[in-house]
Subunit: 412 residues, 4 copies
Amino acid sequence: MSNNFKKCHELKVMRDPVHGYINVEYQIIWDLINAPEFQRLRRIHQLGGTYQVYHGAEHSRFSHSVGVYELVRNIIEKVAGLKDVLSEFEVVALLCAGLLHDVGHGPFSHAFEAVTSVNHEEFTDRIILEDTHINKILRETSEDLPQLVADIIAHRAERKLLTQIISSQLDADRMDYLLRDSYFTGVSYGEFDLNRIIRTLKVVDDRIVVKESGIHAVEDYIMARYQMYWQVYLHPTSRSFEMILLALFKRMRDLTLEDRNAMDSISFIKPFVSKGDISLKAHYQLDESTCLSGFMTLTECDDPILRDLSSRLLNRDLFKYQDVLDNDQMESIVASVRNLGYDPEYYVIQDYTTQILYMPYEEGVDSGIWVQMKDGSLVELSKASSIVHGFATGNMKEDSKVFFPDKVRTEI
Amino acid sequence: MSNNFKKCHELKVMRDPVHGYINVEYQIIWDLINAPEFQRLRRIHQLGGTYQVYHGAEHSRFSHSVGVYELVRNIIEKVAGLKDVLSEFEVVALLCAGLLHDVGHGPFSHAFEAVTSVNHEEFTDRIILEDTHINKILRETSEDLPQLVADIIAHRAERKLLTQIISSQLDADRMDYLLRDSYFTGVSYGEFDLNRIIRTLKVVDDRIVVKESGIHAVEDYIMARYQMYWQVYLHPTSRSFEMILLALFKRMRDLTLEDRNAMDSISFIKPFVSKGDISLKAHYQLDESTCLSGFMTLTECDDPILRDLSSRLLNRDLFKYQDVLDNDQMESIVASVRNLGYDPEYYVIQDYTTQILYMPYEEGVDSGIWVQMKDGSLVELSKASSIVHGFATGNMKEDSKVFFPDKVRTEI
Amino acid sequence: MSNNFKKCHELKVMRDPVHGYINVEYQIIWDLINAPEFQRLRRIHQLGGTYQVYHGAEHSRFSHSVGVYELVRNIIEKVAGLKDVLSEFEVVALLCAGLLHDVGHGPFSHAFEAVTSVNHEEFTDRIILEDTHINKILRETSEDLPQLVADIIAHRAERKLLTQIISSQLDADRMDYLLRDSYFTGVSYGEFDLNRIIRTLKVVDDRIVVKESGIHAVEDYIMARYQMYWQVYLHPTSRSFEMILLALFKRMRDLTLEDRNAMDSISFIKPFVSKGDISLKAHYQLDESTCLSGFMTLTECDDPILRDLSSRLLNRDLFKYQDVLDNDQMESIVASVRNLGYDPEYYVIQDYTTQILYMPYEEGVDSGIWVQMKDGSLVELSKASSIVHGFATGNMKEDSKVFFPDKVRTEI
Amino acid sequence: MSNNFKKCHELKVMRDPVHGYINVEYQIIWDLINAPEFQRLRRIHQLGGTYQVYHGAEHSRFSHSVGVYELVRNIIEKVAGLKDVLSEFEVVALLCAGLLHDVGHGPFSHAFEAVTSVNHEEFTDRIILEDTHINKILRETSEDLPQLVADIIAHRAERKLLTQIISSQLDADRMDYLLRDSYFTGVSYGEFDLNRIIRTLKVVDDRIVVKESGIHAVEDYIMARYQMYWQVYLHPTSRSFEMILLALFKRMRDLTLEDRNAMDSISFIKPFVSKGDISLKAHYQLDESTCLSGFMTLTECDDPILRDLSSRLLNRDLFKYQDVLDNDQMESIVASVRNLGYDPEYYVIQDYTTQILYMPYEEGVDSGIWVQMKDGSLVELSKASSIVHGFATGNMKEDSKVFFPDKVRTEI
């Protein structure tokens, strides 16, 4: 089988501002990058509406995906003992899984999923396993490859080690996005010492663990996650953008329930606000370009709510927000929004958010980061680091906000 | 009049990965940033199709525009003697001009302009002077402001100093884009010592000149331009993307000439491939989202050439290229393309490019960078620096290529 | 008096890799930098023997001192409300205090102080107040200046705000050394967002506090301190170097007690291992050059212990170390060292170290960092941040080690 | 023989701010780093007196030497085809040569050599070949190793490829010092794209050449050299420091010619200003610490010229400088210096300097950088790059200055 893992004629490299270069050695990786379903990721922002706050955050899921691939490649190359315990088949499957782990994402991912029936994990699975360019490329290398790649991504692979590299509390996915989102937003808090972490990982009992000498670097990485969550990912202004998206999709769905042809003018979006299954072709065609273009069309439609909300998204006329206090206050917001002439159904939106900094090990769950102490024993990170212990046991930081317009909008 | 230049309630800052922060003090700047015509720049890439080669180059003209504004602000603040010779009216006009200098750009700018009748300078002028949100914001501050801002950008301002800051051989526009494009592509050659340059500028005879102690920093900046041109801006792969855009727009225009309703299904693009004037509304509505969405529609249209070319753009199935040698060779390429079943009219495209590294002073032209030597005399840069002299007198680097498909395409 | 604060003929700048430039506007600062007692700081490493582990850490107290000066200048310039509440006299005193706060340091500071009677705070005070070049420069500007500068540094100034800028839990001294030591060691963990912190400071009730929006940046700064302590400042290898220094100085002192002329051959060191007061001239003459040169002389002296220890320092033949366990183990180390022919008095050294990450406010003590919440109230940082609360209440990290040679040394 | 190339028990790493880490795999490298003759390099600044201008430039030849070693290691690892044409014996010799190429340097190297009879190349040769710790370590690995290492460094090796890696126009030595000196001074002009250069090197006909795709990166590297020369290495203030060193050593030599015991109080310096051969022990003992300590002693000696010059060096009271114009002007400087009471013999010093940016190939000389074009042909760089052609043929930049005191000195 090994002769199937064809190398490129010569090493292909892509300049990457975060990792320096993306190095592509296997032909299959090059072919996957050039598949239409993968190129589509160029048309989906990595951070949804975050670029409305941090204007540098205009990078796409394409950039992130090749970055995760490169990190998987590095981890396999450099983590002590890893290469020796993997077959070339597993190596190739891991590289593909790193590259493809986000291929099922839709536009403005999280908001979109919340209101439509779309689930990106499910689409990732289908794109890898059903009749697509990507599936064909994988199958041509090995009939078993699509299933293993899909299983690694979906946490179904028998060998937990494989999934751990792509998706765990210390994985290629998170390490790339923290560094990349930090680079593009310009928020330096997301930086940590990637090389140091990789140098201090090793394989013990078919599991990747951190050597004791790497604890400080891992503490710094967890601190970076904490900072990026509260300063970037959960920034109220980008949540405001997402809340308006939610309201807009809800409105489209409500109108479609009344009249199934209501959204005919925006044909790429229509399947996602209608009943019924969504084809892979419809999924391929819906990206942020076709989505925004649909919103541009809606700015001239008959429904005033669609007109207003779509125009807000295009022109960044976002909702204000404040902390949620009590029922009286909520009622007073609803009343004042209604007084401004807005329907509170679409114009008053509550959002609660929290983040668990570090999830210690629980029986039967794939959680926790394990540390090998100098004496050889394995200790869970929150027991090895008093800083992380503080993170794991401290009060969870929470945030609950309500979003609404605070003045009548003048038509564009 | 000065009481019109209202300050923001508190200093507004936007995190910027290149300059650290964008600082907004005047309310008018904040309002302009939030105008729909300016927010539209978020939907236009700064470097057209360059992200097809350098995947990090996904930044928009919005990012660049606020960056130029910030540099203008810095130059006014820090260049010795500048603040003293400018009225507050001129300061505000300069800040607005820095922010708005690219507001007329269309999607995939250069390719687009080459084939349609759109000229971004003309649209910038119209957006500032005609009936738009931006014009209204400018007028509310001062009736004379729109005209001065437009004149600075269009090189019509009487006081040459004003234009020099925005557009010359050493201006805020170029300094921002070299640094920004370098940052986002990850190509370090575009870096130079911005702070050093600004520290060594001064005003002499109502003109900005470089002190002799800044020559090295300026040499480095000119070298950075050279490197960015040949490695990024003129990269043949991104030119290949642009050549396909050219062919696609040419095809749309040709079909519209035969049948003026041919492009009805892509209503946002239609005005640009039809005869007749283009309204500011049509200009506002055409951005890269509506453009790409139009291409997605075209992948399912009746015309096989439109289908093929639009699909190539969406899925990065680019043309090959080679240096142009002689007529025989061109004829053989045309023949082989025709053999593959393609119409050479749209499938064989020649492109010639060159770059002048540094344009020394010529009588009557606003060119050249001037250096004030330690003895007080003013000397043109190519006379003060032997390195730049070499750039100015050396052979011009040229590149002439032909682009074409080298195999039959399988339908997506 | 204000006419005494003479400006330099033109702004003087020194290129600095950490802050970009050191900007010197006042003539007195330029004169102080060029005073012999200040130039001497070029001959003292900022981090003692740390360059034995992190070879990049070869920077001097001179670099750090001009860096603190620059940060003080920045804080005065940029912290909201600060400039308005300071007289020019206080501004100049603060700049001088930032520059001079470490001027009394001796070579290999901490080890040196531990064994000799030298205390760097005392010498800083004397150099500013007694008959020195520095005192003369200060007095020429204002008779009252030396006293105020010394008081600010020694926490004796009546106005606590002045000292807070130079020496507190969030001061120019720490902020410079974390960034600088991080830069020169190459350990990225010491980085934090200096500009963000300065932007979020403000003056409330004659005290500098952090705005709520700056909490994340301060959390990151405290994390940076934690990381630098355990990875750099308390690294066991650099402590090993210091332990040998301790032993060497102890030996010199013991020999001098027996024979007061014993150290005549190393005249610059002699006053520091003899009884009696130390003159400012002796202090000026002892730097790391004269110290190391003395060690070179000792490598050829009669006493085998001095010969061995000085040679170890010059040639980095350091002691091994291990965690201190119990008395039995200590006794076994002592016995084995004695077996190798070494005198345990100088060859077995214990060292205990700990670090308090953050010291919350206590009545009557100048501790704690205060945060102004959005509602205007002042809250102590460990109450405003659950992360810092964890730092303040968690187990204190401790480390206790014993250092000793583990094999017989072959003579150089 | 190969079993002599013992690996370390585990990979040893040293954190390096320029290259990230220095990786030591062979035990012999670790032993050489810990040899006294190599540790001595910690006590010699990489850039002599440059830290008097750029205070960050306090890094030592030790840092640079381990950096060159790391670059040699990288070049061997990554340059296409190189590893295959080298025996392990040659690999080890190259690594040692990179590490040891500067081991013979004395304090304040260039000034020192100019006035004493010391030549650092000669001492490097002797330290490797005569009776030293370093020679012993090399011989224990292989009897032939010292000779090959010395031959590579001294350009005597038969196989030119070996020397080319350590010392040519594009070698590990220059690449490290440009990057390192840029990092420590904070002058960003010295940066270039090291990884890109290494990626585009390959072995053709037992010579390292650049692929055509690497031309831009090499142009940038040559520009970096140009910038570092004129902004850092030849900065007139650091030349002023060196001129005073020259004068001081000249004075010591002149006094010793009159009385051979004149310099007895500064025993470590004495052999270098006396007639007669210099032993390796004397060379080992003279570093910048013993040198500066000697100067401290001289500040209290009887000779007023020695007192004055040594005090100037310690306290940075440097000579002024101006461009050399004509004989009349020189005479007027000499007269005015004499009027101030100074002996022009030691107080008026002329210095001429120039730099050849790029030396094209000449028959019989190891010069030039060779490029392999896409068609396989080898072309010399100045023919392949019009930028470099300009450098090679343009006017040579020259600088001629005279240094002298411009006022009477008040005794410290």
